[in-house]
Amino acid sequence: MFNSIGEFLCHGANLIIFMVALPAICGILLWLFQKQYIVKLVIAILSSVTNLIFALGLSLHNEFFTRVPYAPFEFEFLFRVYDLCALFIVIAAVVFVLITLYTVIYSKKKHYGGLYLLYLYISFAMVNGALLSDSLGSMLFFWEGLLFPLFGILLIKNNNNPKTAVKTLTLVGLSDLLLMLGIIITSHTAGTQNLSEIENLAISGNGMLGFICIMLGALGMSGCMPFHSWIPNASDDSPTVFMVAFPGALQVILGVYLALRTVLDIYGFVPGSGISIIIMALGSVTLVFAAAMMLIQNDIKRLISYCAISQLGFLVMGIGSGLTDGIVGGLHSLIDYVFYITGLFMISGIIEKQFGTKDLRQLSGLLKRIPATMVCFIIFLLSVVGFPGFNGFLSKELIFNASLKTNVIFYICALLGTFLTALSFLRMGMSLFFEKKNAPSEIKKESKSSVGMLIPVVILSSLCIGIYSQNGLVEYALGIGKIAGVTFALIVLFAAAVLLAVFDYIYGYKKSGNALNCANHIIYAPGIKRVYKSAEKGYFDPYNWLIALVGGFSDICVRMEHGVSWVYDKAVPGMVNKVGLALHRFDNGRLSRYLYLVIGGLVFITFVFIIIK
């Protein structure tokens, strides 16, 4: 069945109609039927499942090309389906099913539900389109197409305080435009726009610029530093469903897909080269910084969003190493990432919905109240840390491998990241589940627990328990053989890091007597304290840098503009007027002056006649 679906899709414009137009149309339908919950649910499930079936069909089908003729000059809508993109499409489709389900249920009585679903579906259409594109131009088209729904969603709930929306659009827009530049330079260097025809461009000169721009664009979309800072803000004031869908899944899928393509096919990326080091450094900084930020968060969603950023750092390190280990690890890691981060955000949504708060200081002892959710939660946490038996394990180890092969500093960073992640999860988990700070009655009376919302969480958590890691799907998609197993020594070191985190937690807990304050001895350590303070104040926020930069530039421009206006409004008319007045004063009405002038004129003419004979 899947094969015949693939057959059907590979003809003509069918692909774009069913993979791109269909979600968009379903989105419009959902928007129109936003009041009818059941209809909405049916449409959502049907459409997302259909999409999944299509995706599976495509992934089973042979590689093929499709061109849609309706494009402007030199701007081809060319699509290609092959292993890597098929894998990504399937991942996206799987997650999408769960996300839609969750979203529909979550936003059951919310006034913004319909509009949100519309934006979500359009975004998904764009993601599909971008993954399937074979021409850089059309990929960019779909890629940037995400901006509009992204902005729209962030505005839905925040009519009065659109700061986050602005920040998001600015950062993502910046990365998208960098991507545009990168794509243009790349296609200029390669002489073609077609991804399938571009291979191993040299990373030097223009190519260097193109590579950097594309990577920045790709990583910026997924929320890597320095384009990360909107994610925590969004977690504060956007609907949870947004966090689930966008930073949690769609954006990361897109970004990592392109980063992978860039590193693997488009550019001749050499492991250990300068550019690789830079990308890895970016990844490790992202990892350490975000993980460190996790330690001081008191808000579940915010914490998870930092967690997402730091996990992305892992991913970037893996991909940036350029080694087989790293890339396979990165790809694994992506799949894990999508599952557990999405799952974590979903759970934070459930908690928020049930208890009306997402503040860690007010929540405690939840294990007994919502046990099923909490079990899933713990699975996700373990998976994030990379416990053996859970999904994160393999990918983490592979990335450790790769980073050690590149440079030991990166390995240390990775360990540090693991340590911090583990520590902050211990802090969160302990305080959420086991501690009893508040009497349960002080928490807002829990609303009806919705089973529907739990379904996707459960599915995701089950996906997180090591079911697929060994089956070589990733290796197949990348077209490489099975990679070697994990070195035992490294596992020991990894375990040591995790253990250290446990000990540190215990030490901290003893010291402060409170799970939430367990990391205070680190946070308030001299030196580090200042760093945290400045981080809180937003000194490390690239968005602030950008705004300051642009603002400074604008100030200069405005000052210059005043000068220009002065020239036009004051200087030139003033000069004309002054000269005129001077001449006017010279004509003072006295005859003698007039006679002087006459004589002067006569002399002038004589002079001309003498000079020009």
């Binding site: 008319p573 004309v576 007027n577 000269v579 005129g580 007045l581 001449l583 006017h584 004509d587 009405g589 005859l591 002056r593 007039y594 006679l595 002038l597 006459v598 002067g600 004129g601 006569l602 002038f604 003419i605 004589t606 001309v608 006649f609 000079i611 020009i612 004979k613």
Partner: protein, 487 residues
């Protein structure tokens, strides 16, 4: 040819007989109907000019000699001469005179008979000047023009008028002296002052006193005619004189007198000495200085008529530039500009008359917001200003373009470019004028102002129509000129 003879005589005899009629008729009758008399004279002059032009064109004549009163002719001596260029000038004279009459209906309340007399003598002077074929006769008619204008300015005996007229008289007499001196120097060499007899052959390359004197004559005559034309730096009398006169008289002065007395004189000189390099350069130099300085001066005046008068200075500069090329195209451009200048400058003075009639002032700082109250005046002044500034498709654009093309063709590219760009200054001062008079806030005392009626409105509409129609149909004129081999 008889017809041409009649037409030629008409230019002198009609005004003369008008004077006659004016003085024998009942005074009260004339006071009542003076405008019919003068208007008819002006109209007849225009008709005669068109008629003569038509006949000359039909017979492909380039000039026609005649004498008045049927006197016997001595061969070889031309007494009067009409040619297409002088006919254009004659037409302009008629047109501006007509406008003056239209204005005078409203502005002149006393001394109507004298106004008619003086207007007629002025007409005779101007007509004579453009028809004579002898430098001395030219000088005589120049003085006729000068004296008539002087009396006209002084006619109403306001203190300002007297002052202006005395300044005018003194400076203009200096000009006459210069011209006379030049004439005498030339006649020393040739013994005759007929245009035919003097030419470039006057100048020999040898360095002798007589050659120097001829050069001195040219210099003096340029200076003299420049004074008459109000070219910078000989311009200073002009705004005083034009401002102080009654508007119906300043329209004559600014619209036509400076062009006949000054520009036509320079045109005659150009025909004779146009080939001399130094002559061209000095004209071009004076022209460009006039263009710029006139405009700069206009930009800081606060009296409506003074602005318009300085604008005349500036525009005379363009005509001089056209003449400075010495080429046919340049002269065609200059003559075309004389016409368009006559049209738009008359419009502006008519506007001045309208505003003065309705508001009682011409100080632009005291006005404002008249656009909604005097729409016709505002509209016509806008068109006139655009034409002055050389904005297409109005008449002023084409003549300016021809002048610039001629300048360019004669190798003065930079000068041409500069002259073209200098017309932005024209826009500048007219925009200021427009803003202060027609836009902005209306002062209290002007809140009850209404649009002018009657003859002034008629003249405004008529002149605006002329400016627009000539501008739009100018390509036809170019075709015509081309078919006659003129350009």
């Amino acid at each position: 040819m008889n017809y041409l003879n009649y037409a030629g005589e008409a230019f002198l005899l009609i005004p003369l007989s008008a004077i006659f009629l004016n003085n024998i008729c009942n005074k009260r009758f004339i006071e009542k109907h003076f405008h019919i008399l003068t208007g008819a004279v002006a109209l007849l002059q225009m008709i005669a000019a068109v008629f003569a032009f038509y006949i000359m064109d039909a017979n492909q004549m380039l000039n026609f000699d005649f004498s008045v009163f049927g006197s016997s002719k001595i061969t070889g001596i031309e007494l009067f001469d009409i040619n297409p260029v002088s006919l254009v000038f004659l037409f302009c004279i008629g047109m501006v005179a007509f406008v003056s009459v239209m204005i005078s209906i409203r502005t002149i309340d006393v001394k109507k008979g004298s106004y008619v007399n003086l207007l007629m003598t002025l007409l005779i002077g101007m007509n004579g000047m453009v028809m004579v074929s002898d430098l001395f006769s030219l000088y005589v008619f120049l003085d006729v023009i000068g004296i008539s204008s002087f009396v006209m300015i002084a006619m109403f005996r306001s203190r300002k008028g007297l002052e202006g007229s005395i300044k005018y008289l003194i400076i203009s007499e200096i000009a006459s002296i210069f011209i006379l001196m030049g004439l005498s120097f030339i006649s020393m060499k040739t013994g005759s002052l007929s245009f035919k007899d003097i030419g470039r052959n006057l100048l020999t390359n040898t360095f002798e006193l007589q050659t120097i004197l001829i050069y001195a004559a040219i210099i003096l005559m340029i200076a003299g005619f420049s004074i008459k034309a109000g070219i910078v730096p000989f311009h200073s009398w002009l705004p005083d004189a034009h401002q102080s006169a009654d508007t119906s008289i300043s329209v004559l002065l600014s619209g036509i007198v400076i062009k006949i007395a000054g520009i036509y004189g320079i045109y005659v000189l150009t025909n004779i000495f146009g080939g001399i390099k130094a002559y061209q350069v000095s004209l071009a130099g004076l022209g460009i200085i006039s263009v710029v300085v006139g405009a700069l001066l206009a930009a800081c005046q606060s009296h409506f008529k003074r602005i318009v008068a300085y604008s005349s200075v500036s525009q005379m500069g363009y005509i001089l530039l056209g003449l400075s090329t010495g080429s046919t195209l340049g002269i065609v451009g200059a003559v075309a500009h004389v016409f368009s200048h006559a049209a738009f400058k008359s419009t502006l003075f008519t506007n001045a008359a309208a505003i003065h009639e309705q508001t009682g002032t011409l100080e632009i700082d005291e006005m404002g917001g008249l656009q909604s109250r005097m729409p016709v005046t505002a509209f016509s002044s806008t068109i006139a200003f655009l034409s002055t500034a050389g904005i297409p498709p109005f008449a002023g654009f084409w003549s300016k373009l021809l002048i610039v093309m001629a300048l360019w063709g004669s190798g003065n590219q930079i000068l041409a470019g500069f002259a073209l760009c200098a017309s932005i200054l024209t826009s500048a001062y007219f925009l200021r004028l427009q803003k202060k008079v027609f836009f902005g806030k209306t002062p209290e005392h002007l809140s009850s102002v209404t649009e002018v009626t009657g003859s002034i409105k008629f003249a405004e509409i008529l002149l605006t129509a002329v400016t627009c129609i000539v501008g739009v149909l100018f390509p036809l004129i170019i075709i015509f000129l081309h078919s006659r081999g003129l350009i």
